[in-house]
């Protein structure tokens, strides 16, 4: 079906989300909690747009609004821009010193509200991506705890989690760098839990926890003979590929 975004006609599948259609057509909508790998959080609300249908306009979160009819979408109306600015003002009050948040505010020309007492040490914006990542992996080591304004992300009882495998996927997806990962002397500390780091068989760089190896073994249902870091793994794969090509060309006498 055809929908209109900011006056432009765009092709859309039934059930597709507005944000995906917009991005495919090069129309930018700001997001914070959206990740293609972990969709559906809809918590930051920065991606709000106006949907006009039957002469009636409503504000929706474009990342989770499924297209079911030929609607008209406006991504930057005066109303949406004003609301986005208020959202950013609230975000700036929550994490006033966070670099990423400050950058966002500057991009949208929002001056932080002096009226609010922000915590200079706060970096977490409660988007929920970390919890979503941990769930997806299946570790379930972290979750949101409490509710209301006291809501936060933590391990059960704020103690080191038994199920955490130290993969730091949570830190990897965090848009504001709020999750601290300390690595030194072959150890990694994350969420108050200390992990031993195994080293790469080729370059010797400590990079993976034994718990991660166990997780991978179970997930892939196979033994892992050689532990290689990302760089060395890529290098080895490249070498294997080159060798295969060489073998193939040699065997078929195609070498020029």
């Amino acid at each position: 079906m055809i929908i209109t975004i900011n006056g432009r006609q765009c092709e859309a599948e039934h059930g597709e989300f507005i944000l995906d259609v917009a991005l495919r057509n090069g129309i930018q909508i700001p997001t914070l909690c959206h990740s293609e790998a972990l969709p559906g959080l809809a918590s930051c609300r920065l991606c709000i747009v106006e949907v006009i249908e039957n002469n009636w306009s409503k504000v929706v979160a474009s990342c989770v609004y499924p297209i079911t009819s030929e609607i008209e979408v406006v991504t930057h109306s005066e109303k949406i821009k004003r609301m986005r600015k208020t959202l950013l003002k609230l975000l700036g009050a929550r994490a006033p010193q966070n670099a990423y948040v400050r950058k966002l505010l500057a991009e949208h020309e929002v001056t932080p509200a002096a009226r609010f007492q922000g915590d200079p040490d706060e970096n977490c914006i409660m988007c929920g991506l970390c919890v979503s990542a941990c769930d997806k992996i299946g570790a379930g080591a972290i979750s949101t705890v409490y509710r209301g304004i006291a809501k936060k992300v933590s391990t059960p009882y704020d103690e080191p989690s038994k199920t955490c495998i130290g993969c730091s996927a949570c830190a990897g997806v965090c848009p504001t760098g709020a999750i601290k990962v300390q690595e030194s002397h072959g150890k990694r500390i994350i969420w108050k839990k200390e992990f031993e780091l195994l080293s790469c068989a080729v370059c010797g760089k400590p990079f993976i926890t034994p718990e991660q190896i166990a997780y991978l073994k179970a997930k892939l249902n196979q033994e892992i003979d050689e532990i290689l870091c990302e760089t060395c793994k890529r290098k080895a794969a490249g070498e294997r590929f080159a060798q295969t090509c060489a073998d193939l060309t040699a065997s078929k006498g195609l070498l020029r």
Partner: protein, 602 residues
């Protein structure tokens, strides 16, 4: 006289939560003991039962005697022997225990004659106070489960839904979505299993109608759910009840078991071949779990957070399956609609808000309690005629309806008809029917702060506008109440309200600004008095209140001196008293106790 010929009499002792707290169970046991001891010597065979809430909690414990039609109020344990000796043995009425109309000084033998009950019309509350909730036969005796039989054996699923559509019944939980339309939409999805849910997570401060129905007439809910399940082809139901409602959980569990034994639930209901069972899920007491999608997440064992409702629950609800969720009070109306027909029901109340609604009247009102009245009743009649007006002879200021999602309605709108649409138009909402009445000693900025404080704890905290918006609005309101309000605060509050009300994920977030929006709209002068003049006109915000005694009015009675906990009042009998501002802790005891309006607020 043989056993069977003896006239029968029943004593109904109210054991609703309010009366229980005032020791009605002791009254019940003591009466029972006296009756058992007297045995067959009593000329009239006497039964005694505990019932659910009679509504007039203010005047509990309540003891009713049928068929004599006597109702005793504010009964104490020490009255029991007299009731037994005089009323039970001799049929004599004890005048001092009858309802007293404080205005006319008249007493009424039957509770049905007084203003509180006379103007009510009971549909959802039809059995409460009349039956023992633990006894299924009490329910059956009053026509219970006849509607289920009628539905199963004489109606088609389509005709059941048609009756509910015709009734015009709208959901009693808050939003007022037409119940029949919801069922019809769900019936339209050919995807099984389907689920039927009861929302018993009542959480609005001051609301207790759902609790009262679950405690006092659980079978009416079960019957309503079973009828809906048959109409949808659902075999599984869940009743989500907040765990703090221990008596509701107990009475609902017991009723479900009894209904199963009597074949009104379970496999092959009444031989019809239809199966339906209900499980109780106990909620952890999070206000947000009353929101439909959060409630479903909670039943699924996940964190109770709402999800975007762009796809409705009737299509994809619990575990992604078609689901009908209705509130306790809505369910209790269903058997009556099936019994008497949708047309009969739609003839009651207002055109677009049919039927009756249960309201809980609380706050600074004389007759605190539960009332059921036809929709469209004037707010004034509800508060002044049924509710008996404001306590302590004070002036009405506002009524808060709809809980934290609702708003405050001022005196100028007292003639408003109470229905879904008029309340929404006034900036408030029906909500579950909680009505908190406020008098001139209520500070409206403080009221907004109270609700924001509640929401700050009870928002799920998932989406940014609701969580951070509430936090910052509360921060501003705290500061205004502490005398640190700044010019521009009202505008900043309004800016945040506008965004929170549209950008939030769920209906709770979207309605969270209502208490702030309506208090600014109707009581902006009070905000300005706080911000600009550093004064709290109601004398509530301590930092902004100074009490003084006006020598013109002071009679030197000494009541303020006697009640001051800080020793701040001094003065000789029959001469002007004064308050030492250095010692005053601003508790307001002096103003509350002065009979001559001599204590004033500066």
């Amino acid at each position: 006289m043989s056993e069977s010929n003896r006239p029968k009499r029943t004593i109904l002792v109210c054991c609703g939560t309010g009366c229980l707290a005032n020791h009605s169970l002791k009254i019940y046991h003591k009466l029972k003991e006296l009756i058992t001891k007297a045995g067959v010597d009593v000329a009239v065979e006497t039964y005694i039962k505990t019932t659910g809430c009679n509504g007039l909690c203010e005047k509990g414990p309540i003891v009713k005697i049928t068929p004599d039609d006597i109702a005793y109020f504010k009964v104490k344990e020490s009255d029991v022997e007299e009731i037994f000796e005089k009323t039970i043995l001799q049929g004599e009425v004890i005048n001092r225990l009858l309802y007293l109309d404080s205005v006319t000084g008249k007493r009424f033998k039957s509770h049905k004659e007084n203003d509180f009950y006379k103007r009510q019309m009971k549909i959802a509350l039809r059995n409460i106070g009349e039956i023992d909730p633990a006894d299924i036969f009490d329910y059956i005796e009053r026509g219970g489960y006849e509607s289920l039989k009628k539905a199963l054996f004489t109606m088609t699923p389509e005709s059941i839904i048609e009756e509910v559509v015709k009734s015009g019944l709208r959901g009693r939980g808050g939003a007022g979505f037409p119940t029949g339309r919801k069922w019809k939409q769900c019936a339209g999805y050919n995807n099984y299993p389907k689920y039927v849910l009861c929302n018993g997570d009542e959480g609005d401060p001051g609301a207790f109608m759902d609790r009262s129905i679950m405690e006092g007439d659980p079978h009416s809910i079960i019957e309503g759910m079973a009828i809906c399940a048959y109409a949808l082809g659902s075999n599984t139901g869940f009743a989500y009840i907040r765990d703090e409602y221990a008596l509701a959980v107990k009475n609902m569990s017991n009723a479900i078991n009894k209904a199963k034994e009597a074949k009104f639930l379970g496999e092959n209901i009444l031989g019809s071949g239809f199966n339906f069972d209900i499980q109780i899920v106990r909620g952890g007491g999070a206000f947000v779990c009353g929101e439909s999608t959060a409630l479903m997440s909670s039943i699924e064992g996940k964190v109770g957070e709402p999800r975007a409702k762009y796809i409705r629950s009737v299509e994809k609800g619990l575990w992604g399956q078609p689901t009908v969720l209705n509130n306790v009070e809505t369910w209790a109306n269903i058997p009556v609609i099936i019994e008497k027909g949708g047309e009969w029901y739609s003839g009651i109340g207002a055109p677009k808000s049919t039927g009756t609604k249960v309201f809980s009247l609380v706050g600074k009102i004389r007759n605190t309690g539960l009332v059921e009245v036809p929709m469209g009743i004037a707010l004034r009649e509800l508060i002044f005629d049924i509710g008996g007006g404001i306590t302590a002879g004070r002036k009405f200021k506002a009524v808060q309806t709809g809980g934290p999602s609702g708003g405050c309605i001022p005196e100028s709108l007292l003639d408003l008809n109470v229905d879904f649409d008029s309340l929404t138009k006034a900036g408030s909402m029906m909500g579950s029917g909680g009505m908190i009445v406020m008098d001139e000693r209520t500070c409206m900025v403080d009221v907004a702060r109270y609700y924001l404080n509640f929401l700050a704890e009870e928002s799920c905290g998932k989406c940014l506008p609701c969580r951070e918006g509430i936090k910052r609005m509360l921060e501003i309101l705290n500061s205004i109440c502490a005398g640190k309000g700044l010019a521009g605060d009202i505008e900043l509050l309004q800016e945040i309200c506008a965004t929170v009300s549209e950008a939030s994920l769920c209906a709770l977030g979207k309605s969270a600004p209502n208490p702030v929006v309506t208090t600014i709209h109707y009581f902006e002068d009070e905000y300005l008095a706080h911000i600009r003049d550093k004064r709290c006109p109601a004398g509530v915000c301590k930092e902004l209140t100074t009490y003084y005694i006006d020598p013109e009015n002071c009679k030197g009675c000494g009541l303020c001196l006697k009640n001051c906990p800080a020793g701040a009042v001094s003065g000789q009998p029959k001469s002007w008293h004064s308050i030492d501002q250095k010692l005053c802790i601003k508790c307001g005891n002096c103003i509350d106790n002065c009979k001559f309006h001599a204590v004033k607020i500066r």
